[in-house]
């Protein structure tokens, strides 16, 4: 089992009422599998918000375009809406 730090930013952190949580997970694991686990542990609102197609995910601070790819080296995952800097 691996400890996975999970971060939320922007509007998503307000909707979920948290910036950070952690999970013990079996590796390898995909972004979508992490979403499913978060929904089981924290409630359906997590699954609903994190499954929205516009929500982006970064694994170890690298943007992910395919949320079904399994990662065997992962200790941080972040979820956030489209960015609006500048």
């Amino acid at each position: 089992m691996q400890k996975l730090n999970v971060l939320f930013f922007g509007q998503l952190s307000e909707k979920l009422n948290t910036r950070e949580t952690s999970l013990m997970v079996d590796l390898p694991i995909s972004v979508n599998e992490v979403v499913k686990l978060l929904g089981q542990r924290h409630g359906a609102v997590f699954n609903e918000c994190l499954s929205a197609p516009h929500i982006l995910a970064a694994v170890n601070q690298q943007m992910q375009t395919n949320k079904d790819i399994s990662h065997s080296d992962i200790n941080e995952i972040a979820f956030f809406p489209p960015v609006t800097g500048g």
Binding site: F9, G10, T84, G86
Partner: protein, 152 residues
């Protein structure tokens, strides 16, 4: 290039002389973005800039590398404010120094277009009517697509 993420005020006078052009520099182009006091017909009193510490720095460093791979950049600055800001505060400053002017214009434009759609910052406006998270604009995505199409 210098990379700055700051929770305290960014000052144009300090940023604009941060990197003294070497004698091989022929052109310096910069963009300075400030917080407006209005958006979408609403008065905006203040704004909060959320960001992803660590990934923000690596994302901006990647953008700078991409720009350096496309243009012969000699030096420059990318600076971005985070935290609470008020109208008139400097939000973003990009400066590019090159031998010739067109490279400086293009690289500065590319860095801003890429930053707006790939760097992990999120703006929340604080208004008399409430707090509103800023939505990504289609025009920003189209601006980035323009650079990607030029590359292909």
């Amino acid at each position: 290039m210098r990379l700055i993420i700051s929770e305290s005020a960014l000052l144009i006078n300090e940023l604009s002389c941060l990197v003294t052009p070497s004698t091989c520099v022929g052109g310096v182009n910069s963009f300075t973005g400030y917080m407006r006091d209005n958006n979408l017909d609403r008065n905006v009193n203040a704004m909060f800039l959320d960001h992803y510490p660590g990934m923000t720095e690596s994302a901006l460093a990647r953008i700078i590398e991409q720009a350096k791979n496309r243009w012969p950049i000699i030096d420059g600055v990318v600076a971005h404010r985070v935290g609470k800001v008020v109208p008139g505060d400097l939000l973003v400053y990009v400066e590019v120094q090159t031998a010739h002017r067109q490279c400086a214009f293009d690289a500065c434009n590319f860095i801003m277009d890429t930053l707006k759609t790939t760097a992990p910052f999120w703006k929340k406006e604080l208004t008399n009517e409430g707090e509103f998270w800023v939505e990504q604009r289609d025009s920003d995505v189209i601006a980035l697509d323009k650079w990607q199409q030029r590359e292909n």
